[in-house]
Amino acid sequence: MIEINNLTYQYQVDAAKVLDNVSLSFKSGDWVSIIGHNGSGKSTLVKIMMGILEDYEGEILINGNKLTKENIANYREKFAIVFQNPDNQFVGATVEDDVAFGLENQGVAREEMVEKTEAALTAVNMLSYRRHAPARLSGGQKQRVAIAGALAMAPDVLILDEATSMLDPEGRKDILNILEDIHRERQTTLIYITHDLSEIEKSDYAVIMKDGEVLNRGSIEHIFSDTDTLIKSRLVLPYQMQISRALLKGEYVTHGELVEKL
């Protein structure tokens, strides 16, 4: 259980608040999507949760224990994050070296490390690429390796910070399917950050953010039913929602008019 209470953050003293009194709670094992346009504060939120940013107001409780500078190292072993650009995350010269990096840092014995690395690469269908150089892989494959690197550490919480934004539609679908399998088989809590509403369908719970504030939260059905808030958050509505809204208004009687307006 993660509880975020009254979190406020600004990068500089005289700058605007990137997060303004944000309070949220996530249940263990949930797939939570945090959606918002650029600058809405969603990435800042996870950076604070990972201990990358400090000096914030408010508190973060993990299973009832307050996150502090002193205990962040212990929680990092339970949290894993995958960033937007996989090229800037690879430390290892080969796929397996990179996946094992986190385990090396945890001081895991070699035999166990080999097992965990293989299992993580199998989970993302990349075992046959284990000896390849990460730089020579496609964008989707690179991101799968980055996910394997996070999975190998057997995290309780896996955070994906716009991890699919550099991929083509096929690559995105592929990553979402892999995440669905991981979520189902390992019961890992997923925190999925995106600005694309079409990617949140598989989530259990979603949070809409705008300018550092939480605009809406709840089940996917609840989020999609409140179209006015979605429009207010400046997010692009999925295609089917745009059609549905246009049809409901009943203003376009011919196909040509509807297409033109859409």
Partner: protein
């Protein structure tokens, strides 16, 4: 052009040299660097060239590919050669014009020193071509372990070298992209006076530096969140295994050194 550069590149393979323990490769290269200076006349240099050709053959590297990749460093060799031609005196005078004088000793020394430099460049390139950066790092850290006793941060140094080598191809690709982008907007880098060519490089270096710093920052964050906190409590995924082939390779290098020493005049 930049994509042909071999410095810091690793080409996977299964040759005898690829399979050697990286520590044995580094020790062999260090021995070879000393041995090169044993050669002091044509027979010694001939043996060096034959030895090097054998190493290239054993490493299964295409010799034309190797020389093509070293082309960018040829200006250093030419500069060294010219330096000796114009400033080494001795033997018979071959050419004299005003203050310029070329002696036979200068030409011979120039050729010999250039051969030595080529040998050193090739052997170090073969080391990086046949050894992955991570293996090199492991070997450097392992061989430098005694220095940890005098507080030399060997692990941190090895990690820095490894990441630098890993980023060389990435930054090369990035440089090419920036050159193409700037060329598309009308910048020229290969024509004009030296001053304008140097000025034309500024729009390449500024975005390259900005991007490199951004990458470095993201990499540092990614390493930190994956639990990296230096050497303490760390284990290693890779195992270094010293075998018979490694001992044999070092013995061969030493025997070759002895042979070169014996043919000295």
């Amino acid at each position: 052009m930049l994509s042909n550069m071999l410095l810091g590149r690793y080409i996977p393979g299964n040759s005898f040299i690829h399979q050697m323990d990286p520590r044995a490769k580094i020790i062999s290269v260090l021995f070879f660097m000393v041995i090169v200076f044993f050669a002091n006349h044509w027979l010694g240099y001939l043996l060096l060239i034959l030895f090097m050709l054998s190493v290239i053959k054993i490493a299964q590297i295409n010799i034309f590919f190797l020389f093509n990749g070293l082309k960018l460093l040829f200006f250093i060799l030419i500069f060294t050669f010219l330096l000796h031609i114009f400033f080494t005196r001795g033997g018979t005078t071959l050419f004299e014009w005003g203050f310029i004088q070329i002696d036979s000793e200068g030409v011979i020394t120039g050729i010999y020193i250039t051969i030595r430099l080529v040998m050193l460049l090739i052997i170090t390139t073969i080391l990086t071509l046949t050894t992955s950066p991570i293996e090199l790092t492991d070997a450097i850290e392992n061989l430098g372990a005694p220095l940890k006793k005098i507080k030399v941060p060997m692990h941190e140094l090895a990690m820095m070298i490894s990441i630098s080598l890993r980023f060389i191809p990435t930054l090369m690709d990035e440089t090419e992209k920036i050159i193409k982008a700037q060329s598309a907007r009308g910048s020229t880098f290969m024509t004009g006076k030296l001053k304008s060519r140097v000025n034309a490089l500024i729009p390449i270096f500024i975005p390259l530096f900005i991007s490199a710093f951004k990458r470095a920052e993201e990499m540092a964050v990614a390493m930190e969140v994956r639990g990296y906190k230096g050497e303490e409590g760390r284990t290693s995924y890779r195992e270094l295994k010293w075998g018979l082939k490694d001992t044999s390779a070092i013995v061969i290098i030493i025997l070759f050194g002895v042979m070169l020493f014996l043919v000295r005049m």
